[in-house]
């Protein structure tokens, strides 16, 4: 009598678990101690059926399909708090949360709001569903005019990758206009891609749409290749993260700086122009994708300290422990969903902290934050006097622009 051979086919669980280990540093997941720090430090860990440590537990037990039947993983804002806190240095954000979202997307299990943002990104090159032809409309009236590369046809020193919200969202367009004026005042020879610019794709990538990210990156890559410039700068930490850390693997590699780095390098030239004092107590919110993800903490503070009259103070959570505004990883497009599940917004927690710190101004450096924090300030007690300003806006004010 012979026994039938045991099936050697791997279960979905095992295939998935193996795939995580193939990612950069992914094998560290085997060293998970189940300490639960990740779930504790996750802003929404208390709500998830399966916060990160429990996901790993279920993976090891072979029950990952159960995780995929829930939808609370969409609460994850890809803020890197878990990855930063993990003693085993497991790349949890990209190596577990994003991968799980990828599986949910493959299964078609996607909240409607997010779906619209993804489909818009695919069709129009921006998640807002705006016509790409209007991507540079925000530049109207700026003098000297902002150079659009396809019209300019001349090399520039700096290509400014503007970003989706900075191009289309009325509040963030103000920041874009201020930055254009600052660059003009510094005599920087810069240009933008205008309608040839597509979404950087980073938040879409972290929301699980790897395929969409690659298509957007390729389109941007082709646009970059058409023109001659020395470096790329961006006012968007998500774009910075993509351009610096993700695009090179796709063969698109350029020197890239976030605007805070670019301006901090030119502090000697900038400081004499900061003539008008901004007399205020200012606290700075470290964006997840500038801070935890890319370790840029000093330069934004250097810029703020250079503005006369500014008294810089830190919130209880700052630098590496900064509290996420909730916009990353698709969170920008899941506001209704997260509200439904949590009845609380991360941006409101952060604004409350800003109020507690005694600051007059909450300074920011990421396009997601202005709308999110200003909305939150309306809802939080005693926050009605709190002003939300991008560092650029404070610099522009000090420069009298």
């Amino acid at each position: 009598m012979t026994l039938a051979p045991i099936s050697q086919r791997l279960s979905f669980n095992d295939v998935f678990y193996n795939s995580l280990q193939e990612l950069p540093d992914g094998e560290r997941i085997l060293a998970c101690l189940q300490c639960g720090t990740c779930s504790g430090v996750c802003p929404f860990g208390y709500l998830m059926d399966f916060p990160p440590s429990k996901m790993i537990a279920f993976l090891r037990a072979g029950f990952f399909e159960r995780v995929l039947k829930t939808d609370l993983v969409w609460m994850c804002a890809s803020c890197y708090a878990c990855a930063r806190a993990c003693p085993a240095k497991i790349p949890l954000t990209v190596g577990l949360m994003t991968r799980t979202k990828e599986e949910l997307i493959l299964a078609g299990n996607v909240p409607t709001e997010l779906r619209d943002a993804l489909e818009n990104s695919q069709r129009y090159g921006n998640p807002l569903g705006e016509s790409p032809r209007k991507r540079a409309v925000w530049t109207t009236g700026i003098d000297p005019p902002v150079k659009i590369m396809s019209q300019e046809r001349q090399p520039v020193d700096v290509l400014w990758f503007v970003g989706d919200y900075a191009s289309f969202h009325p509040r963030v367009q103000l920041v874009s206009r201020a930055f254009a004026k600052v660059l003009n005042a510094l005599g920087v020879n810069f240009g933008i891609l205008g309608h040839e610019e597509n979404s950087d794709g980073d938040s879409q990538r972290l929301a699980g749409e790897r395929g969409l990210f690659e298509v957007l990156a390729e389109k941007n890559g082709r646009a970059f290749a058409r023109y001659s410039f020395g470096q790329i700068i961006t006012t968007d930490p998500h774009a910075y993260n993509a351009l610096k850390n993700e695009y090179p693997a796709l063969g698109i590699a350029y020197p890239v700086r976030h605007y805070t780095q670019f301006l901090a390098e030119r502090l000697g030239q900038l400081k004499p122009l900061l003539l008008r004092p901004v007399k205020a107590r200012v606290t700075y919110h470290d964006p997840c994708f500038l801070g935890r993800a890319n370790h840029i903490y000093a330069e934004p503070r250097q810029l703020l300290n250079a503005v006369p009259g500014v008294e810089l103070m830190e919130m209880a959570h700052h630098s590496e422990t900064s509290l996420c505004c909730g916009g990353g990883g698709g969170g920008m497009w899941l506001d209704g969903f997260t509200w439904e599940k949590a009845h609380v917004r991360l941006s409101e927690w952060r604004v409350r902290e800003a109020v507690t710190s005694g600051a007059d101004i909450l300074a920011i450096a990421c396009p997601y934050e202005a709308p999110r924090f200003e909305d939150a300030a309306k809802m939080v007690e005693k926050a009605n006097r709190l002003m939300v300003r991008d560092i650029i806006e404070l610099l522009a004010e000090a420069m009298g622009l």
Partner: protein
């Protein structure tokens, strides 16, 4: 040449549809401009009473069990014969679940020209011209209605249904129907919407939500406002399609026409299919973050703020005043 204008009368549950009155009004207007009689075509079974207040020169009444209820093939067959025999100048259909599909089939089968989304018909030097509105209301198209017979599917907006009502009963001409030997389509029955729900077409104050409400949870905020104002929540099509509100709350071409004193359009863009159902409102107030939203062209008041931010603030404000 025959200048008669046929109007297909649509009816359901013993009631003539509003759109049929509108088209009779259209027929009257066209007849005044270009001549020709207005002949209402009524297909029904033992329901002559439906014709009693139709404003037409004549009612062509086909009484047959096969057309007691609407089925596409029976109606299409009856009309094909009628049009073929009588060669009217125009046949007017409503842009509805009945009219649009009949007009299309007839155009193909009889080889007659068809114009859709027509708002009005003009006469100029003996030539009949159509004015249609396509692409979500963004494009106007004008052209000629070819002779000898043209089919026209009409949308509301220009002609008023009130003019389609007649005070005295019109002349009724009964016609025989050469029935379809074998009907392909059998009506099995109707499924009524839940009657336990309110009838939004009878409400004085409607709080309408559109895509801008973003998800089902947020509708509770609209409900709060409706409660303090003494109104009822309704919506445009995307909300019902998602299943966030039952279809009884649908305002639009495929839903109900409403005529409240106040229509609060929150996060509604104002697509023509929705707008045509709210033109009977006395005052329309629209809230939408898009200043170019077409709803602002039909509303009396508008605001560009975010609906989700406005709702709790407005509800609180109203509550304070009432207290």
């Amino acid at each position: 040449m025959n200048q008669d204008i046929f109007v297909l009368i649509e009816h359901m549950g013993g009631q003539v549809a509003d759109i049929s009155y509108m088209m009779l009004a259209a027929g009257q207007a066209i007849s005044e401009a270009a001549g020709g009689r207005v002949l209402a075509v009524l297909l029904a079974h033992q329901a002559q009473g439906l014709a009693s207040n139709l404003a037409a020169d004549q009612i062509l009444y086909i009484d047959h069990p096969s057309v007691a209820d609407y089925t596409p093939d029976a109606y299409q067959h009856a009309l094909a014969n009628l049009i073929h025999e009588r060669t009217p100048r125009l046949v007017l259909f409503g842009d509805t679940s009945i009219g649009a599909e009949i007009a299309g089939q007839l155009s193909a089968r009889l080889g007659l020209p068809l114009v859709s989304y027509c708002r009005s018909v003009r006469a100029s030097d003996g030539v009949l011209q159509f004015v249609s509105q396509v692409c979500g209301g963004k494009i106007m198209v004008e052209g000629e209605l070819p002779a000898p017979t043209a089919l026209v599917t009409m949308i509301p907006g220009v002609y008023k249904p009130e003019s389609g009502h007649s005070t005295h009963p019109p002349e009724i001409v009964s016609l025989d129907l050469q029935a379809l030997e074998k009907s392909c389509i059998t009506l099995k029955g109707y499924i009524e919407p839940e009657t336990s729900d309110v009838d939004i077409s009878k409400q004085d104050l409607l709080v309408a939500v559109g895509r801008g409400i973003q998800n089902q949870e947020n509708i509770a905020m609209a409900q709060d406002l409706a409660n303090v104002l003494g109104g009822v929540v309704c919506s445009s099509r995307p909300v019902v399609d998602q299943g966030w509100l039952p279809s009884t709350r649908l305002v639009g071409k495929s839903g109900r026409r409403v005529k409240p004193k106040i229509y609060l359009a929150l996060g509604i863009s104002g697509a023509p299919e929705h707008v045509e159902a709210i033109t009977g409102s006395q005052t329309i107030i629209a809230v939408n973050t898009d200043p170019a939203a077409p709803i602002f062209d039909v509303a009396q008041y508008g605001a560009e703020v975010d609906v989700l931010e406005l709702l709790p603030v407005l509800t609180a404000a109203v509550q304070n005043v009432k207290v």
